[in-house]
C-alpha cells in the first residue's frame, strides 16, 4: 500500500470513530441580539465529518441563530467557530466555500429562471460554471424540466427544491438544512430524506433542524437538543434511544389473575386494573432485560398468555420529557 492510500485509510478510519478533526467546531458561542434577546448561551459543539446531525428544540430555542452564525449571516456576540479548521470570521472565504445553506424561510427571487438562479449561486460561491454538474443537480431534484421557468410560477415544494439546488450548486462539503421539510408533503419529504442519504454517502456532512422527531429518528446519526439557547443534550441517536427509551412488554392473559403469582416476584411486573394484562417494563439507563427467564417463569407458574405486544418510547417522548424538565 502506498503512503497516499495509507493516509486516506487512516482518515477514513478516524472519521468513522469521529475522534479526530471535527468538520465544524463551535466553542463558547453566545449571541445576544441588538434588542437584548439572548438567543445562544455558551454553546460548544463539534460536528463530526460525514455525519447527519439533527438539531432539535422548540420554537425560539436558537437553532436558526446557531446555523446563521456558522454561515456568516449573523455576527456572534462571543465564542468562535471553525469550519474544517478555518475560522469563520478571519478565514471566511475558505470557511464559507465549504458550506451550503438551505434557510428556514422560502427566500428566493421571483422573476429569474431556475437555471439562472442556480448558476448565480454557483458563481457567488466562486466556482466556474459547470453546466454538466448543474444539469445533474437539477435532474436529481426533478427540476430539469422546469429549468427555464420563472421561479414565481413554481409551487412551494418546487421552490424549496430550487433552494436546495442553490445550496448544492457549489458542491459544498457541509450542508445546513434549516427545517427542510416544514410544510412539505409526504412524498417530497421522502425524496428529501433520500437526497440527504445520498449526499451523506458521497461524504457530505449534514446538519438539519426539524420539528418532526420521526425525521431525526429516521435520519440522524447524532442528536443535539437546544432549549432557550443552551445545548441541553448531545448524544448518539442510538445511545439516546437506548438510554432514555423505555420499553414495555404487555402480556395479555387468557384467564384474569387475582394477583401476581409469588413465583414471578423477582420480575418488575405490574398487573393492570382489569387484571387481564401483565406489564413488564424494561430498558432505560441500559438495564438489561431478562425476557427468556420471565417467559420460563410464567410458563412454570401456569399463567396462560393469550397474546403479547411491545411498545417503546420514541424520540418524541424523550424530547418532550427533556424540554419539560428544562435546562
Amino acid at each position: 500500500m502506498s503512503l497516499r492510500n495509507a493516509t486516506i485509510d487512516v482518515r477514513r478510519a478516524t472519521s468513522q470513530i469521529g475522534s479526530v478533526s471535527p468538520v465544524i467546531s463551535i466553542r463558547h458561542l453566545s449571541k445576544t441580539y441588538a434588542r437584548g434577546q439572548t438567543a445562544l448561551r455558551d454553546v460548544s459543539l463539534d460536528i463530526r465529518r460525514g455525519e447527519i446531525f439533527a438539531l432539535l428544540g422548540p420554537n425560539g430555542a436558537g437553532k436558526t441563530t446557531l446555523i446563521n452564525i456558522v454561515c456568516g449571516i449573523v455576527t456572534p456576540s462571543a465564542g468562535r467557530v471553525e469550519a474544517d479548521g478555518h475560522d469563520i470570521i478571519r478565514a471566511y472565504r475558505a470557511a464559507r466555500s465549504l458550506i451550503g445553506l438551505v434557510p428556514q424561510e422560502l427566500t428566493i427571487g421571483f422573476h429569474e429562471s431556475v437555471l439562472a438562479t442556480v448558476s448565480f449561486s454557483r458563481g457567488l460561491f466562486g466556482k466556474a460554471p459547470d453546466p454538466a454538474y448543474v444539469e445533474k443537480l437539477l435532474r436529481d431534484l426533478s427540476l430539469w424540466d422546469r429549468r427555464n421557468s420563472q421561479i414565481m410560477t413554481l409551487s412551494g415544494g418546487m421552490k424549496r427544491r430550487v433552494m436546495i439546488a442553490k445550496a448544492l450548486s457549489h458542491e459544498p462539503q457541509i450542508l445546513f438544512l434549516d427545517e427542510p421539510t416544514a410544510g412539505v408533503d409526504v412524498e417530497l419529504r421522502r425524496d428529501m430524506w433520500q437526497l440527504v442519504r445520498k449526499l451523506r454517502a458521497a461524504g457530505t456532512t449534514i446538519i438539519l433542524t426539524t420539528h418532526y422527531l420521526e425525521e431525526a429518528e429516521e435520519m440522524a446519526d447524532r442528536v443535539g437538543v437546544i432549549n432557550k439557547g443552551e445545548l441541553i443534550l448531545l448524544e448518539d441517536k442510538k445511545t439516546l434511544m437506548r438510554q432514555l427509551g423505555k420499553k414495555r412488554l404487555t402480556l395479555v392473559l387468557g384467564v384474569p389473575l387475582a394477583e401476581i403469582p409469588a413465583r414471578l416476584g423477582a420480575h418488575p411486573l405490574t398487573l393492570s386494573a382489569d387484571r387481564r394484562e401483565l406489564v413488564y417494563a424494561y430498558g432505560g439507563n441500559g438495564a438489561e432485560a431478562n425476557i427468556a427467564q420471565l417467559l420460563a417463569d410464567i410458563a412454570e407458574a401456569g399463567v396462560v398468555v393469550k397474546d403479547l405486544r411491545t411498545d417503546e418510547s420514541s424520540l418524541e417522548d424523550i424530547f418532550v420529557n427533556l424540554i419539560r424538565r428544562g435546562p
Binding site: A94, R96, P103, H111, F120, G123, L124, G126
Partner: protein, 257 residues
C-alpha cells in the same frame, strides 16, 4: 477564485443585476426619452424663446448636459438603492452574506451594474437631445469621464441609501428631499452666473453645481466654476461615498444582526 478576488461572484451579481435591467428594458429606455422630450418642449421652447443664448450657446443646447446629469443622478441612486434594498427586503440577501465574497466584490458588482445602466441611460438621453437641438461635444474623453465618475459616485451613494433604508418610503426620501432639489438648484437649467451674488455664494455649497459645471465644460468649453475644481469635487464625493461603504461593511451596519 483567482488572485484572491472572487471574480466569479462579481460576474454573477453583475450579470444578475444587468438581467434585472434587461427585464425592465422598455421602461428603462422609455422614461428618459420621454422626460427628456418633455423638458425640451417645456424648457427649451417656452423658456428658450426668451433666453436665447447662455455663454454663447443656444439655451436648448445649454440645458443638455444638465438634463443628462439630472437623469444620471436620479437613475444611479434609484438603481443602486433598489438593487441592494430589494434583496434585503425579501430576504434573498442571506445568500450574498453567506457567500465567500468580500465587501469590495459586493460593491464592485452592485455599484458597477447600477453605474453601467446609468451611463447607458445618459447616452440615450444625449441621443434623444440631438433630435431637438444640435449638440457638439468639445472634449469627448472628459465627457465620458465625468459621465462614468458621476454614475459610480451616485450609484455608490444609492447603495448606501439602499442599506440605510428600512422601508420603501425611506428609499424614496433622500432622492426626493435632497437630490432632486439640489439638482434643480445646481444649474441644470441656468448658469449660476445668472444669479444675484448672494445666491451664487450659497449655490457654491451645492455639490451638484460642480458636477454639472464640469460636465457642461466637456461639451461647450464653458463652465461656472473651474474644471479642475469640478473634477476635484467629483473625486471628493466619490471618496466620501467609498468611505461610507467601507464603514458599513466594517461595522456590518444593517446588513447583519
Amino acid at each position: 477564485m483567482t488572485a484572491g478576488l472572487n471574480l466569479h461572484a462579481i460576474r454573477a451579481i453583475y450579470t444578475y443585476e444587468m438581467a434585472r435591467t434587461a427585464r425592465t428594458l422598455l421602461q428603462s429606455i422609455v422614461s428618459p426619452v420621454l422626460s427628456t422630450s418633455l423638458y425640451f418642449v417645456v424648457f427649451g421652447s417656452a423658456i428658450g424663446s426668451r433666453i436665447s443664448h447662455v455663454g454663447g450657446v443656444s439655451y436648448g443646447a445649454f440645458i443638455v448636459p444638465g438634463l443628462i446629469m439630472l437623469g444620471l443622478l436620479t437613475q444611479s441612486i434609484a438603481n443602486a438603492s433598489f438593487g441592494i434594498y430589494f434583496p434585503r427586503f425579501v430576504g434573498t440577501i442571506y445568500e450574498v452574506l453567506s457567500a465567500p465574497v468580500s465587501a469590495v466584490e459586493i460593491v464592485t458588482a452592485y455599484v458597477g451594474a447600477a453605474a453601467t445602466k446609468s451611463v447607458l441611460l445618459g447616452l440615450i438621453t444625449l441621443a434623444t437631445a440631438t433630435l431637438f437641438v444640435s449638440v457638439h461635444v468639445l472634449h469627448p474623453v472628459w465627457m465620458i469621464a465625468f459621465l462614468v465618475l458621476t454614475s459610480i459616485t451616485f450609484s455608490m451613494f444609492g447603495f448606501v441609501i439602499g442599506i440605510w433604508a428600512d422601508s420603501f418610503e425611506k428609499l424614496q426620501l433622500i432622492p426626493l428631499l435632497i437630490v432632486t432639489p439640489l439638482t434643480f438648484l445646481g444649474g441644470s437649467f441656468y448658469s449660476i452666473n445668472m444669479l444675484p451674488p448672494l445666491w451664487r455664494g450659497i449655490t457654491l455649497f451645492n455639490p451638484v453645481v460642480y458636477l454639472i459645471s464640469g460636465f457642461r465644460w466637456s461639451f461647450y468649453g464653458i463652465s461656472d466654476v473651474n474644471v479642475a475644481i469640478s473634477l476635484g469635487m467629483t473625486l471628493v464625493f466619490l471618496s466620501a461615498c467609498l468611505g461610507l461603504v467601507v464603514w458599513i461593511f466594517k461595522t456590518g451596519y444593517r446588513l447583519k444582526t
